[in-house]
Amino acid sequence: MKQKINILVVEDNIYYNNLIFNALQQSTHFVQKKVKYQLILQSFVDYSDFMQKIESREFADNDVVAFVDYNLGNGISGAQMINSLKKENSNTLAVLLSQSRTIEERSIKNNYDFYVIKDTFAPALCRLYLDQFIENKFL
């Protein structure tokens, strides 16, 4: 049975969501290995959809790499989402997308693995992170 990996983008801004989603799609290793290792890329604009999936334990049994925005609107913090995700599945690697270092520092106690400041380089950095993750995992 193929090893399944869920790659998730949780970003309420549709533009930035598309941007990150597209960047991840272009990851060399993702393109090459998505069939072999069943790499599933999903994006969520609405955090409630994402929560629903967590509650239905959709991500419970497989490795998860999540790119989560810090501010998901309506006062919902991405850091909370990451906590819920990690509680459900300890094999979760989370990258927090934040606006500024201030926010990153504020959420230092949260359970994310890396943070990426949402600037010009952010999509490429997310892609690079995914590339490295797949390389470390499978190659």
């Binding site: 801004n13 930035y16 609107g73 400041i117 010009t120």
Partner: protein, 784 residues
């Protein structure tokens, strides 16, 4: 298989033989029986001969006898031929003999008949004469016209006539007797002829029967042979089919087995490769894991030794330093061994002083030798060139291992190592390295084992003297890497002599690397540097920090690649130390990102790779990624300084250069948007750009309107959140004026400024967005 082939061959051979027999038999049967032909010919000849005589008996023409005589003259030959043809058959031979006798008898009769026929001719003539005489006597009885004639001739004639008549009568009598004889002869001849014919017919019948029997026998035999042949052919076909099936089966089985073996082989190969990779990875990991704390121990000990300490502490620290260095050497040994085994160790080619190498080795073992009450000495032959071209580190490693062993195993004795030049052929030099000791020696039976991996003479040796048992194995492999030879002569309790022949090239004194130690001071240009160290190991960072703080260098650190990249986005550094192996993003990928995505050039910021693993083998890969130098862990201050100097001397740079600010990316100040990033990310996919612009326009319009509403309703927190949320997309498409306005809104809310200002900013944002939206729509139309 062999049985099947043998069976097939046998049946094939038998079938072939039988078929050949049948064919030859048929060929023989097709030929007419020569004996039968001869008999028929003889029979016909006899018929002809008889006919010839019959005709003659009627015509009495001798010409008619010609065929007879021809046949008679040839008949013997034909009978002889028949005899020769029947010579193998005694019955037929007897018959032939009988025929021969009958023919002879027949010929005698025919000859007698001919004789009688000839006699009959005379008699016939005589008979004619008698008839004529009769007629003349009648004339004599007629009245004579001439009286005289009648008187004088009558008496004489009467006498002669009577006598002749009498004779004639006698002849007639004789003739009748002859006729009777001829008749008798003819009848006898007819009997004989019939007899001969019968004999002939008998003989022919017999021969024909015999031939028929033979033919039947042959047919029967042929039938049997054919039946046998059919069986053989059937057997041949069956065994052929069986063989074919067997061969097919064997081939299929072979192919299957081969496939299974191939799969197993491939699996084994994969497994072996996996194991090798695992081993390599394990070695790399282990070396990394062990070297990292060793680096810290050695480095910090070195740092502590710089402090003013009491003698006792200094001595203790020196022991710690020496022990950690020793541990480092063991790790190096293990790593080198692994690399030598995998053929991954490459020799350097640098110019070096050979005397320096020997002096270093001597200095290193001087004290241990004294502790063993052993005299350590070395020598270099005068004809050895002062400077060689090759790998001094590996030469030193060879000598270190050999001398270390000698010193270790020699108590109260002598250890001498020397270098002699055996051959100096233009540029190539053959060196003879000799290490001679008067130590415990090695048992002759164990001499062949000492160069094997993980081997020491006795297990107790390890306990008594320590060591990994890799030293000599590494030496041998290193010598082989130099295309040299190594030999060992030893006697138990008398000592050991190890000789190595090794090839080097003549070096150039001018090209010998200068030792930094002699001028160990921190140049001003180094002190002015602003350096970022990226390493996931805290104590490594601390070590860097300790050294660099002492060197008065502006030092910054990051614990992983991602963090480093985040720092580099907003700050400029003159030099970057990048650990090769880190969680998240490794040094290689991070450097690639710095060079390719962030466009920070090598001259702007050289990158020095730091790693506990030796990256020499992969250096090209690291270099290609944009790294400029390599600093192995553990490192000394001198190594660190040398590496820094090597890159800052290579690359001229200005420490005043500021990093390119994001805002400066905009190429055209007049333009409200900049789609360069978006196009870069899209990889040329215009439809993607279009889709992104549509989503930007839609989401930003929604956000801007929500801001207007929120400002109007005084929900400032929501305004701040909305503005904050809209910043990244706006920044991404280069709508920097809009970005500024949104940022100001956010700041104003944080600073709790007047609501009117906020309202103004919100309106300005709306106006700016309308302009941006117009441009975005223009772009969308262009793409459409």
């Amino acid at each position: 298989m062999i049985l099947a082939v043998a069976l097939l061959s046998a049946t094939g051979y038998l079938s072939y033989r039988n078929l050949s027999s049948i064919v030859s038999s048929i060929q023989l049967d097709l030929k007419p029986d020569q004996r039968l032909l001869s008999i028929r010919e003889i029979s016909m000849d006899l018929e002809k001969a008889q006919n010839s005589i019959r005709i003659y008996s009627t015509t009495y023409d001798t010409l008619d006898l010609r065929p007879y005589y021809t046949i008679i003259s040839n008949i013997d030959g034909k009978v002889s031929r028949l005899r020769s043809e029947c010579v193998h058959d005694p019955v037929l031979l007897k018959q032939t003999d009988t025929i021969s006798k009958l023919i002879e008898g027949n010929i005698v009769i025919w000859n007698q008949l001919l004789f009688l026929y000839n006699n009959q001719t005379v008699l016939g003539y005589l008979k004619q004469l008698s008839v004529r005489l009769d007629s003349s006597s009648l004339e004599a009885h007629r009245p004579e016209s001439n009286i005289l004639k009648r008187v004088f001739s009558r008496n004489q004639n009467r006498l002669n006539e009577d006598e002749i008549i009498s004779n004639l009568r006698e002849l007639e009598h004789q003739d009748s007797i002859t006729k009777i004889r001829v008749t008798k002869r003819e009848s006898k001849l007819a009997v004989t002829s019939t007899e001969i014919k019968e004999k002939f017919y008998d003989l022919i019948t017999k021969i024909e029967n015999e031939i028929s029997d033979i033919v039947n026998e042959k047919a029967l035999a042929a039938d049997k042979l054919a039946a046998k042949t059919y069986i053989f052919i059937a057997m041949f076909s069956v065994s052929g089919t069986l063989l074919a099936i067997l061969v097919m089966f064997i081939i299929v089985r072979y192919v299957r087995k081969a496939h299974v073996y191939q799969v197993a082989l491939q699996s084994s190969k994969d497994e072996a490769e996996k194991l090798a990779r695992t081993k390599e990875l394990f070695m790399a990991n282990m070396s990394h894991e062990i070297r990292t704390p060793v680096t810290a121990i050695s480095g910090f000990t070195e740092q502590l030794l710089h402090e003013p300490l009491d003698e006792n502490t200094t001595r203790t620290l020196k022991i710690i330093k020496s022990s950690s260095d020793h541990l480092g050497n063991i790790i190096n040994d293990i790593l080198d061994f692994s690399k030598l085994q995998n053929g991954k160790l490459a020799l350097e080619k640098v110019h070096f002083f050979i005397a320096q190498v020997l002096e270093d080795v001597n200095a290193l073992f001087e004290r241990p030798a004294i502790r063993n009450n052993t005299r350590l000495s070395y020598s270099i032959s005068p004809d050895t060139p002062e400077v060689l071209l090759g790998d001094p580190y590996r030469l030193k490693q060879i000598l270190l291992n050999l001398v270390s062993n000698s010193v270790k195993f020699t108590k109260n004795g002598k250890v001498h190592f020397s270098v002699n030049c055996v051959k100096n052929d233009s540029s190539e030099i053959e060196l003879l390295l000799e290490v001679v000791d008067t130590g415990v020696g090695i048992d002759e039976s164990k001499l062949s084992l000492i160069f094997e991996d993980f081997t020491q003479e006795e297990m107790s040796t390890t306990r008594k003297y320590g060591g990994t048992g890799l030293g000599l194995s590494i030496v041998k492999k290193l010598i082989e890497l130099h295309n040299g030879t190594i030999d060992c002569v030893s006697k138990k309790n008398q000592g050991t002599r190890i000789t190595c022949h090794i090839l080097y090239l003549t070096g150039n004194e001018k090209l010998v690397r200068k030792d930094v130690e002699s001028q160990f001071f921190i140049p001003e240009e180094v002190k002015n540097l602003k350096i970022l160290v990226v390493d996931d190991e805290e104590y490594n960072r601390l070590l860097f920090k300790t050294i660099m703080t002492r060197w008065q260098i502006r030092y910054y650190e990051a614990s992983n690649g991602m963090e480093a990249l985040e720092i580099l986005k907003s700050d400029h550094f003159d030099l970057l130390f990048m650990d090769a192996r880190m969680p998240g993003i490794d040094g290689l990928k991070a450097t690639q990102f710095i060079r390719n995505e962030m466009n920070i050039t090598e001259s702007e910021m050289p990158v020095i790779c730091i790693s506990a693993a030796n990256v020499n083998d992969d250096w090209q890969k690291y270099k290609k990624a944009g790294m400029n130098a390599f600093l192995p862990k553990p490192f000394t201050e001198e190594m660190l300084l040398t590496t820094i100097l090597s890159v800052i001397k290579d690359y001229s740079y200005s420490s005043e250069t500021e990093p390119v600010k994001e805002e400066e990316i905009q190429p055209d100040g007049a333009s409200k948007i900049n789609l360069q990033n978006l196009y870069h990310i899209s990889g040329g996919d215009e439809q993607f750009v279009k889709q992104m612009l549509l989503s930007f326009d839609e989401s930003t319009e929604k956000g801007i309107n929500e801001i207007q509403e929120a400002v109007a309703s005084g929900r400032l927190e929501l305004v701040s959140e909305l503005a904050h949320k809209m910043l990244p997309p706006c920044r991404h498409i280069g709508a920097l004026e809009l970005c500024n306005l949104l940022r100001k809104i956010e700041e104003n809310i944080q600073k709790k400024t007047e609501l009117s200002d906020l309202d103004r900013l919100a309106k300005e944002s709306l106006q700016e967005f309308e302009e941006v939206s117009r441009l975005v729509k223009e772009q969308i139309t262009k793409i459409s």
